[in-house]
Amino acid sequence: MSSPVEPAPERGTGRLRLAVYKFSSCDGCQLALLNAGQALLTLSELVEWVWFAEAGIEGDDREVDVAFVEGSVSTPAERERIRRIRQRTRLLVAMGACATSGGLQALRRLGRVEDWTAAVYARPQYIQSLHRAHPLADEVEVDLELWGCPVDTAQMLAAVRSLLSGVLPVHSPDAVCLECKRRQGVCVMVTRGEPCMGPLTHTGCGALCPRFGRGCYGCYGPVDHANTDAVARRFAAMGLLPEQIRDGFLGIHNQAPAFAAAADAAGEHGGETPG
């Protein structure tokens, strides 16, 4: 796509119509915009907001050029709502971990639902919860994914700036580990024996955890071709128990296929399978 998004020509205002929608989430990714300070005000001069409830913009069902959607789809009503939003949106952006992989709350899929389903069904008005917390892409076509828990202001503004210029944002394929080396970080795995997900995780945070003296825990999701087996073996050699290795993968992006499979593999070795 050379020009993925531009204002619909028939409107002729030259301003992109933006919207921010919230699904099942902690609200933290919207803060990338709400915390942007002066930049939020500047942006508001450049675009037309259609929906951004937390910022006081309560719009209508007009067509949207770019919709930023935070959160996972975890109820039947949310499923209907994301479909309606998709229908009137030209470019749909999944914003943050919950929208891209389901987020931490996707751990609900490991819950022992059978223990409580019967009781819940005794109160049918309360059971409208899906068994899984779904990433948006499970439900609708997603044009762009911004990974991260949370996405940060610089990342959001860079994405918005690119979209305003009619191009898709540049996406770095690098791992946290590589970023850490570039920043001349001291390896916490080598020097402190701290388990670190840096070799497996997309950068985007600026290799924050190792720079703060601790191992990465995977906020930006798995890199392509993540070698989870090798890292799990390394964790085992460092003395981690199988359940600890498994829980390391059952973090923010527990439902991302590479991490979910690695968690299953670690669980099998430990004789305790999640779910």
């Binding site: 902690c26 803060l31 937390e54 913009i57 209907e80």
Partner: protein, 456 residues
């Protein structure tokens, strides 16, 4: 007025704006009386308490942070303090200082966001911060600068302001960068004056007069304005260790909310900045006290619309405290006296209970841990859930005082303004829905799903 006598008004606000998370207001008036009034919270629960079971205690700060993007520090602080007490781990004076500084950062950021992006537009006849910037450009700029400063404090100690990574069980992974701390000290100097001006500005807003009778609950600390530690106290004379909280607070489910309501000894109660300030006036920094007195507002206040002033006073308090904490840390580091920022711990089986003051009020955690430091059960009582019953009570009282014969648009605006006084954080409030059932003599905790119409 025969018209008014027979008038039926249905007010539906399907998606409340300028609140954090998803809620709705449903108000039915008939013949000049409130027929039904519901703050409907339909944000889906995310089952945190359930999936924390089986996790290692050391994972808690990163996991519970995700309950709320606006007050992740509050969740981290409550969890680590509770677990460290159970483990007999005292990370020492420097960690205590830096954690208080971190909490100051979150209060400043969260309160500045609420005042400028969410609440002040109500009192100035605008609907968003972009419009606020047109009618009050200097004040908006000052407010956003304070918000940014709060964020920067969190970034210095935790790398990023949302879901910061600095706090670990036992302390911090890393001491803060001395250069960054020195830079903060200079910024805080400027901010102290900005915060003082903010207090005067908020007190001068056209806030409605609406004194009400309500019970307030907040932490009290022997010497400090409460943040990370203290006893749970109330205006009705309660004075409890956090372990005794649930003997007085009953949580229960109502059909129209995915967040549990709470009553204190059978009555709705208020937590948050107004409650905190009312109960802790004697713990204010002298400069913050002086700035509040200079406003001429009588305090303690029974007027919920003064919440915005209470937030400003707490920003002032947090800036003044942060300045002292940063200067002390810089001085000690400069003299080579700085203590470590981490203390080793060993897991111990037992129950960890703690309460801290989140920006929106008392946040209470309870974790039952096994001998390996694994979570057996978790229970979290967040501030907005506690405030729900009080919000509904307030809406009834304040709308009646406002005049139920007013136009629906006016009633709606007033109702939304009342709700925003509480700065409800619905994302926080809803992740804990439980039903406790007895089955075959065994107590089973049931996590129930949500009803959810969509806003968009």
């Amino acid at each position: 007025m025969s018209d008014a006598d027979s008038r039926r008004i249905r007010i539906r606000v399907p998606a409340l704006t300028r609140v954090e998370g998803e809620g709705a207001l449903e108000l039915d008036l008939r013949a000049g009386r409130i027929e039904s009034l519901r703050l409907r919270i339909y944000e889906p629960p995310r089952y945190f308490e359930k999936f924390l079971e089986g996790r290692q205690a050391r994972e808690l700060p990163d996991l519970v942070a995700r309950i709320c993007g606006i007050c992740p520090v509050a969740y981290q602080m409550t969890a680590v303090h509770g677990v460290e007490r159970l483990f007999g781990c005292d990370p020492g004076p420097r960690v205590r200082r830096l954690r208080r500084l971190l909490y100051c950062g979150e209060w400043i950021e969260s309160h500045a966001l609420h005042i400028h992006l969410l609440a002040a537009p109500d009192f100035l006849g605008v609907t968003s911060v972009a419009e606020l910037a047109r009618v009050a450009p200097d004040e908006t700029r000052r407010g956003l600068a304070l918000q940014q400063l709060g964020n920067r404090i969190i970034e210095v100690l935790g790398g990023r302001s949302v879901h910061p990574v600095g706090v670990i069980l036992g302390g911090f992974g890393h001491a803060p960068d001395p250069g960054a701390m020195t830079a903060l000290a200079a910024e805080l100097e400027t901010a102290a004056e900005q915060a003082r001006e903010l207090v005067a500005w908020c007190a001068g807003l056209p806030l409605p007069e609406d004194a009400q009778d309500f019970v307030t609950v907040a932490l009290r600390h022997p010497a400090e304005y409460p943040m990370n530690e203290g006893r749970i106290c109330s205006s009705s004379g309660l004075d409890l260790d956090p372990t005794g909280f649930t003997e007085h607070v009953e949580e229960f489910q109502v059909p129209h909310s995915t967040a549990l309501h709470a009553l204190l000894d059978g009555r709705p109660y208020l937590v948050g900045p107004l409650a905190r300030l009312n109960l802790n006036l004697d713990r204010l920094h002298p400069e913050a006290r002086a700035a509040l007195e200079a406003t001429g507002l009588p305090w303690p206040s029974r007027n919920m619309f003064h919440s915005i002033v209470a937030r400003a006073v707490e920003i002032h308090q947090a800036v003044l405290e942060a300045r002292e904490l940063v200067l002390e840390d810089c001085a000690r580091t400069g003299n080579g006296e700085a203590d470590g920022v981490y203390r080793q711990w060993r897991p111990r089986a037992g129950v960890a209970v703690w309460a801290t003051e989140a920006p929106r009020g008392v946040l209470w955690h309870r974790y039952e841990l096994d001998g390996h430091g694994r979570v057996v059960t978790a229970r979290i009582v967040p501030p907005t859930a506690q405030n729900q019953a009080r919000i509904e009570e307030d809406l009834r009282t304040s709308l009646t005082a406002f005049g139920l014969d007013r136009e629906p648009a006016e009633l709606r605006q007033r109702a939304e303004t009342v709700i925003r006084n509480y700065d409800p954080c619905i994302s926080c409030a809803t992740h804990f829905l439980r039903l406790d059932l007895e089955r075959d003599g065994e107590r089973i905790r049931v996590l129930a799903g949500a009803r959810a119409p969509g806003g968009g």
